[in-house]
Amino acid sequence: MTVQRYFFFCLKLLFRQRREVALPLFFFLMVSSLFPLTFPAKYLSMIAPSALWITALLSILLSLNNLFREDVEDGFLEQLLVSPAPLGLLVAVKLLAHWIAYVLPLFVALPLLGLWYNMPAETLSVLALSLLLGTPSLLALGALAAALSAGLKQGGTLLMLITLPLAIPLLLFGLSMVDMAVSGLSYAAAQDFLFAMAVVSVSIGPTVVAASLRISME
């Protein structure tokens, strides 16, 4: 098993599981659509960043529910553990494939929702940038919780309970970026924070998740 082969294996598997993979996207679209239906039109552009960030956050957490559980149940995790390829790298490519399959489609849906929420193009682009910088860290945090709860029956609930409080700074800095942009101020500080978090998450996250998976097998 090589890292490169495992990446394409993950993508192929996610493509075959496309019905399950589409569910978090539908969740994102459905829940995001509820706000324009229930809020007065004049407030929509005000609540849009919060509504879309929170819905994207929940949608990503929903997708993480099955990140390692299936691998534990079908014994595939054991094959990852015995593979000569470093487990941290295998986890990294699994998360990359997961990001491509679950998170990337959210960005495709974003312009459509932006129109519905009457969001100016500039605000929408900053929101997209904040999500782009925030989602790698969110994925890493969620993957850590998924690894720790992989063998548990109520793992999905635990995953939410562990990840949501840890994701609050990402949410706040993401929304702060959009608020600053709307107010015409520089959002560089919030952007730098999210970028730094993303760099830290991408560089050490997979190793920590790999260590958690080993612990969960003990």
Binding site: M1, F9, L13, E78, V82, E218
Partner: protein
């Protein structure tokens, strides 16, 4: 450094494992020499699966040592198949061996007909999925095979195929540790037995 051919592939010394305070096994010691198949038997819960997981590196030893010869690797098939149901046998094996022809040959060596090679594994029986899992061993270049209950869900013909593969592996200088309750129909010159109690 030149390693003598007769040097054991695996040296296990005083291996001990416990879950909580309950000791599963203690001071397990053995060597696995090239060309030998070690059958591990023992009642349910005696630690056969844990032993294989320790030897494969899935679990970390609590006490004792496992020394694997530097120039060799292990391949492991647990009691779960590690087969992705949505993918076909060939697609599952492509992860370990990109050459589809070699994968097809490995599947056929274990008696999985060509007509099943491209079907999603969820359409295969438990025995056929087991054959997919076991064919990973044939594709690997590992000298030591670790098999946990390899005959689960296999019919007599398939069992004979597996035993033939084990025999051929041993004749080519490989070794294997097989945890099973089934009788291994192998020559006494290559078969060793160990009972976990």
């Amino acid at each position: 450094m030149l390693i003598p051919m007769s040097e054991p592939y695996l040296k296990v010394k005083k291996l001990t494992h416990a879950y909580g305070r309950a000791a599963l096994f203690s001071a397990v010691t053995f060597d696995l020499a090239p060309g030998f198949i070690l059958q591990v038997t023992g009642k349910n819960g005696s630690g056969k699966t844990t032993l294989l997981q320790l030897l494969s590196g899935i679990k970390i030893p609590q006490d004792g040592s496992i020394h694997l010869r530097e120039d060799i690797t292990c391949a492991y098939v647990g009691h779960k198949n590690a087969v992705k149901a949505e993918l076909s046998p060939l697609e599952n094996l492509a992860l370990y061996q990109p050459d589809a022809k070699s994968c097809a040959q490995a599947l056929e060596a274990l008696g999985l007909e060509k007509s099943h090679h491209r079907r999603p594994c969820y359409r295969l029986s438990a025995g056929q999925q087991r054959k997919v899992a076991l064919s990973r061993l044939i594709l690997s270049d590992a000298k030591v095979w670790l098999l946990d209950e390899p005959f689960t869900a296999l019919d007599d013909t398939a069992k004979a195929h597996v035993i033939k593969q084990l025999e051929s592996h041993a004749q080519n200088g490989g070794s294997a540790i097989v945890a099973t309750h089934e009788r291994l129909d192998l020559g006494k010159t290559i078969l060793k037995e160990m009972v976990m109690s």
